[in-house]
Amino acid sequence: MSTKIGIYICECGPNIADNINIDEVIERISSSEDYKNKQLIIKPYKLLCSNEGKEYLEKEIKDNELTHLVIAACSPRDHEITFINICKKTKLNPYLYKMVNIREQCAWMIPDKKKATEKAISYIKAAINRVLHQSVLIEKQLDSNPNVLVIGGGITGMETALSLASKQRRVYLVEKNSILGGNAQSFKNLLPRQENNTDLVAKKITAIQENENIEVFTDSKLENAVGFFGNFEVTVKSTKKDQTANEFVVGAIVLATGFALMPTEKLKKHAYGKDDNVYTALEIEQMMKAKGKIVLKSGKEPKSVGLIHCVGREDRGYCSRICCNYMLKIISYLKDQSDTILIKDFYKDLCLPHKYDQEYFDTMAKKKVDFIRISDITTKKTHITYTEVNGSKKEADLDMIILAPAMVPAEGTEELAELLNVPLHPTKFFQEAHSQLNPIGTSLEGIYIAGGCHGPQGISESVLQAKAVQGKIVTQLIPGEKIIPEVKVSEIIPDFCMGCQTCREVCCYGAITFDPERGICVVNEAICRGCGNCVGSCPSGAIRAKHFTTIQIHQEMKEAIS
């Protein structure tokens, strides 16, 4: 059927009409010999974005059976979607439509009416040339699998699994140890603001075992995961001798692999051996959980204890947020044990960000505890030499030392990131997609991070992040609903591709993979976000960005220089 291009120029009340001579635009374009052999319908309208304007446009498209549409009005950032929705109501494919900004970038920007009119004509001509080179694009509908794979059976993993599992959504929980619980199970008490839910972990474990929509794989780890949001083919393998492997399809993967405390043996400033009375805070928690009191290696109760904060903070380059809180908790253990223990607490900065933290510190400060703000500290077995913040150097000899080492990602985080192609933050935790707008997603849609593996934090923050992951999955991966991926994606022309993989290496979203048999790269249209970086990197122009092809851009460029 013959091409029929509809061009509608919005007067936008005075805003465009005042500074652009619309009649001259219509006259010049309809009489220009470039479009002699084409059927052009060019009409002004007072306000296209108003409701009557939309109905008028819909009628015009249907009555004239337009094959292409050009709207000359305001910025596409405001109303491109409005007119796309109108095209969707008609038979005209929404991608055979081009919007031209003649308000902000012509009428308002160029005071001289004559020049503004010239500019508008040039922009509209460019749009007509471009729209004729635009091709039909159909929005795909991918069916999605609602199930979720959660990696890590600590408090975060369990919380995510419990809040997501339902009849329509099965949750597979993979834990590398033989029991669930993770780090949180070795805490005797929680912080006062967490209202001593000592049996928190135990309750979660029983709830998981009773929930038939959650399938638990202990002593197992993720072997392989291939696919994209809504369709990950996943293999989970047991680490025991029989190495049984299970394969299933999930729609989303949640990484909740938790944290570990930084190994302090290697730290230059803290030389101590295995048998000295130097413990990390986690070891003290485990001792309290097991024995109910803090004792030296000899079994006797310590008379003097030194607590050292920010151990390894310079090496790791970040503050671990929660140590100030749990060191106060350890002081409360010691105070409950006996009031006569001499306690010296060495800290660099107090990190008390939660609204109740300062109060907790003030109550502990009232008890006989020597809080010393230091600028440097080194230990030799249980002998401490330190410089206070006012510069005076001192030494102290104590029965026991308790260290608060930096929180680091759990062992195995790097391999998991490698396997799933999820980028790591410079501090080696997982890298979130956007620290403020998408804090628990990753650059790979469908893969989420929560808890200790996201960054140093306490149990409350981890549980909050677990629920946030639930919020994201429940609103994006809805059982029975289709997923509509981005439609303006890139495609690689097999005949021109030489398999140099430059595009695969520059793609920030891992949307391009190399196909060794054919020796060419392939774009996964379900992951591609349509930025065009690969197109810009390909030396031979073998990649085409749909709706922004080089030929289409040439049409606009040609008009710009003629």
């Binding site: 900004n101 160029i110 503004a116 520059v506 065009g532 810009g536 606009e556 460029m557």
Partner: protein, 145 residues
Amino acid sequence: MESNGKEKFTPKIVGYLCNWCTYAAADLAGSSKLEIAPNLTVIRVMCSSRIDFNLVLTTFFNGADGILIGGCHPGDCHYDKGNYYTRRRYAMLKSVFKTLKIDPERLQLAWISASEGNRYADVVNSFTEKIKKLGPNPLNENPYY
């Protein structure tokens, strides 16, 4: 054959603007009614990293007097690290033009964020002035090219 005098020369400048930041700054400049030279024609692309040096070369050799690439500030890119690649491609092309001394000033890369309407106006107006001083693209005047 030389075009007589610079004042009749109206530069034709092509501006490849990234949709999320610089194009938004252009809109803001428009809505704040800032006066901007009409010589620059805006071509909207989803990310400045879409513009490869092949496209810049074809634009330059087809007779554009100036080419402006507008992108988000490093770290602001909507597609994570696109603008870092843009900078390196641009720097490479700039180095070739500098070595060949074929008016490297006609190429310009500018980081303009969505809230910098007046910075967009300054960049475009100063770039247009510079191209006016530079004169037309030498290609447009050489009959034997």
